[in-house]
């Protein structure tokens, strides 16, 4: 007699603390507006008299260089057909030498993929709470209203959010792109915007062209777990009759199919009514699991409902079938 078992799949999110901050890498340039003063000195002798004199003061002012870099921090994200509110994460860094305002634009209509993700509304957020993912504390980006202002070396973490259309199949890829450009101006490196820089100095477009973009891939990664349960009855007389006192040995095989990963999969099964769990019989593959809650993968609990539970870890097809066994006696 086969019984379906309950399998819980829990996806754990790795949260990285990110937000408005500065890189360790030093961006190009003395700060825009810096005035560099220099004086030369001469020392000489006329007859027996030694004299030192200075030159005029020469001042050079540092112009602003406009540069920005967008990097994709989650270049590949696993999704399923029909998933909504799927975010990808980017970092936008001001690699110039002066404070600058940037405009952000996203697009999911790109060539080179099998489907176009559907931009959510809103489609761009700041990772305001620095959780690394889309969460209630994040502020939506509104172009022209809260364009990020970044100091030299400063960065901001941005989330781009799309829905995955139905009808896509395993291994299909959909690309989404974030572009950032400097509000002072963009163009060929060396293009000068006179007086438009921070503090009124000239602003000159740097090697990035003062704009940058990065792509992220949504990859449809179906994964499914199927559990097949079998039982063998051994009665106390050496036979197989399901009488009170007889033992039922259960074996559940969990199979993984698909290209994705079932992260932190958990197998749980209630002890059938009118039976009692036989202590110490829980096994995962060849490992004996103790009944108590401890460092190993499994445990048995009598309340509120008697059940066994085994953590299977993150499973892919490469993990192979997972076998859980346990025994009960018929009351």
């Amino acid at each position: 007699m086969l019984q379906s078992s309950k399998i819980l799949g829990v996806v754990s999110a790795v949260a990285l603390a990110l937000g408005l901050g500065t890189n360790n890498a030093h961006a190009l340039g003395a700060p825009a507006g810096t005035v560099i003063n220099n004086t030369a000195e001469v020392n000489y002798t006329v007859g027996t008299v030694n004299t030192t004199a200075s030159s005029n003061l020469v001042s050079v002012t540092v112009a602003e260089i406009l540069d920005v870099v967008v990097t994709a921090q989650t270049p590949t994200v696993a999704v399923n057909a029909g998933d909504t509110q799927q975010e990808v994460r980017y970092r936008v860094t001001n690699t110039g030498n002066g404070s600058e305002t940037f405009r952000l634009v996203m697009t999911s209509v790109l060539a080179g993929d099998q489907f176009d993700p559907t931009p959510a509304t809103p489609s761009i957020y700041f990772d305001t709470d620095a959780s690394g993912d889309l969460s209630p504390g994040d502020t939506p980006y509104v172009v022209g209203s809260n364009d990020p202002v970044l100091s030299a070396d400063g960065f901001v973490t941005v989330l781009v959010v799309n829905d995955i259309p139905a009808g896509v199949v395993d291994t299909n890829v959909g690309i989404t792109r974030l572009t950032a450009d400097s509000r002072t101006g963009t163009g060929a490196p060396g293009t000068t915007f006179a007086g438009a820089g921070a503090g009124g100095v000239d602003a000159v477009v740097g090697t990035t062209g003062a704009d940058s973009e990065a792509d992220s891939n949504y990859v449809v990664s179906g994964v499914s777990l199927a559990a097949t349960k079998s039982q063998a009855v051994v009665d106390q007389f050496g036979g197989t009759r399901p009488v009170p006192g007889a033992r039922i040995n259960y074996s559940v095989v969990v199979n993984v199919t698909g290209s994705g990963t079932a992260a932190n999969a958990v197998f749980a099964d209630n002890i059938p009514a009118n039976t009692t769990y036989v202590p110490g019989t829980l096994r995962l593959n060849t490992a004996v699991l103790s009944d108590g809650v401890d460092a190993d993968a499994g445990d048995y609990a009598a309340t509120p409902t008697a059940r066994v539970r085994v953590a299977l870890g993150s499973l892919t097809t490469a993990s192979g079938p997972q076998t859980v066994t346990f025994a009960v006696t018929i009351n």
Partner: protein, 163 residues
């Protein structure tokens, strides 16, 4: 001040060998001028490029600035042992081998105290001495081999990149 003191002072001045004319001249014999310039590339109608130096006012990081120092002797006597010193400007890095000056011996310093030729300067790193790199020089010195004759000009030049 009484008359006796005045005479003493005048005598002291005469003993120093200072003529009243030289004493009154605040400027000294060498007028030193410094100029910062950048290279400007112009392409003419034929598409030919030419470069010239133009004054540097606002400079973008990564650009090379050429510093030129001229020394003019405005006196009737020659100036001896003429030495020009220039610190590498703040936020700038000296461009290796860019220092020049006709008739001068050029030396460098990391700290402004010890000067030496490029090959002589060393830096302590991880407990061992190694040759200093050109980008570590913070001072440049030009020592004129000959006296600067009256009415003549000497010059020194170097380049530095804006960080």
């Amino acid at each position: 001040m009484n008359k006796a003191s005045k005479i003493l002072i005048l005598a002291a001045i005469a003993a120093c060998g200072l003529s009243s004319q030289a004493f009154a001249q605040d400027k000294g014999c060498i007028v030193l001028k410094s100029v910062a310039e950048v290279e400007e590339v112009t392409v003419d109608a034929k598409g030919e490029k030419s470069t010239k130096l133009v004054p540097a006012a606002k400079v973008v990081p990564g650009v090379e600035v050429t510093w030129t120092i001229t020394a003019n002797n405005i006196c009737k006597q020659p100036s001896d042992k003429v030495t020009i010193n220039n610190a590498v400007p703040e936020h700038m890095t000296y461009v290796a081998n860019s220092a020049s000056g006709p008739g001068t011996d050029i030396s460098y310093s990391l700290d402004g105290k010890i000067f030496g030729a490029a090959e002589q300067l060393t830096v302590q790193e991880n407990g061992a001495a190694r040759k200093a790199r050109a980008d570590e020089y913070r001072h440049i010195r030009w020592v004129f081999k000959n006296s600067l004759l009256p009415g003549t000009q000497g010059y020194a030049r170097f380049r530095a990149v804006l960080n």
